[in-house]
Amino acid sequence: MNNVLILPIVIPLLAGMFMILLRRHVRIQQGLSVVSLLCTIVAAASIVHRISDQGILVLDVGGWPAPFGISLVGDMLSALLVLAAAFACLTCLLYAFGATEKTHRLHFVFAFIQFLLCGVNGSFLTGDMFNLFVFFEVMLISSYVLLSLGGRKTQLRESIQYVMINVIASTLFVVAIAYLYSIAGTLNMAHLSERIAAIGQDGLLTTVSFLFLTVFGLKSGLFLFFWLPNSYSAPPPAVAALFAALLTKVGIYAIIRTFTLIFYHEPRITHTVILAMAALTMLLGALGAVSNWGIKKILAYNVIVAVGFILFGVGMATFESFTGALFYLLHDMLAKALIYILGGAIISIFGSDRLRKFSGLLLYRPSLGWLFFVAALALAGVPPLSGFVGKVIILRGGIAEGRIVLSAIGIITSLMVLYSVMKVFIHSFWGETLMSEGDQKATGNVALLPGFLLVGLILAMGLGAEWVLGYVKQAAEVMSHPSLYIEAVLKQAG
């Protein structure tokens, strides 16, 4: 009945499995990836459409009714994220076709991108805590492979650290699940929410919620982001773009889900901590972005700033701030993919990451330059691009809630973000042209198609904000009223 919910998980999985069989046929693999992504987009769009018509969709996998079996739950939040993830993944893939090295293509890079998407979509759609852990692992194992594929020395060094951090975080995840199960006796999210509302969120449960916050904070780069800049600088640009667009967002989604659906009874404790972590994340991330002189590091710190900003919206826990946070989350998935793809193109042209060596690219690559300029404005949140709408709603919510300091931090860090990306723009595109066309290591043209695609999407999201907001508000409605989610999942069982 609601079988469409499983399509965004199964399509990439099947496509990835076929690609393993077709190792030598890179062309077929590329075609298959595009077909799979297009199918995923269509499936996700139809899920969004059906949810806006009929409300939350629930699929009890294996026919076991909700609290006993694992159910997939598509509410608007999940569905919109799946859609945005598919778009971001498609563009990263288009960039990867041109930008990855031959050895990469022969070693299943496209297959693992599909598996990564499978894990990401699964995490968004599942309605079960342990299943969330499993899909997290699917996603993380693919990301380990993508990060270490190629085996350059920096990559190996960083992937060891990345894998260790994530394995330890996953261990803590299982520990948190063990505690939660022993207290509540269930792992279905809706059922958990119902039971915790019934027994009250006491000190023990709040402690468990902090364990979850630590785990998801580690994965999403909320305050515990010390591993992120190095790990995101190591892989080839196409993979880094995919990571920046998808991985931290899954962590953010998990925080949103657990703290709006399950642990929402003690906002004075949990949400205050989330807000404090968000503020520190924004500040430290912005400082990192401003102080670095390598493109990769600057972009990685920009990822961190955005995480802080979204969690600022989530932590305030009002209808309006949820709307803003989700809108900004969707925007950020596309914007981060865009800026990473363009940054990757610049790096491939100069053959270096150091800003001080760059100069005068606008003469040869005007379209790349203008794309980068638009992307920088989108990141900072300049209208009519989509970042603006999300930022305005979050900040308006912040000021209405009396969170003046946090709002000020949000605005200041936005300016610092603008400065950091403009620094990249000015150094690489302005100034004297030092390099002749022949000296350039690559043309960077592969970035143009995905670049224009993403700029088009961001513009459409900004100009059609009213239309997108209709869907986003439906998601925020569920986020601020967990009973809607619980009813949809459990009523079906009864």
Partner: protein, 112 residues
């Protein structure tokens, strides 16, 4: 029984933490696998080991053990097994490439 398992799990976590704080790569990997064992024991201990009977005895059974923690442990074991294997390969490859297995000296390696 549960108390005993909890203590053992705590000991394993301690040993794992000690090993992870080491600078030798192999010990860190061993520490991580200690961690996963500790987690599995914990999962078992906090959810009750023995409640008198086997899990599936029909709907009218007076007592039965909750089978879910064991299912969770099984899944988790598979995942941590795969991860340990991956980490060992990654560690070996890193050792071959960087010619050293001490994390401390990695910082000396220049970025490419």
């Amino acid at each position: 029984m549960e108390t005993f398992l909890t203590i053992i799990s705590g000991v394993l976590f301690t040993v794992g933490t000690y090993l992870i704080l080491n600078k030798n790569l192999l010990r860190i990997i061993l520490g991580i696998s200690m961690f996963s064992h500790a987690t599995h024991l914990l999962l078992m201990a906090v959810n009750g080991v023995k409640r008198g009977a086997a899990p599936l005895l029909g709907e009218k059974a007076a007592s039965f053990t909750d089978p879910l923690p064991q299912a969770l442990i099984l899944t988790s074991i598979v995942i941590s097994f795969a991860l340990t294997a991956f980490l060992l390969v990654l560690g070996y490859r890193t050792y071959v490439e960087l010619k050293r297995d001490f994390l401390r000296k990695w910082k000396d390696q220049p970025d490419e």
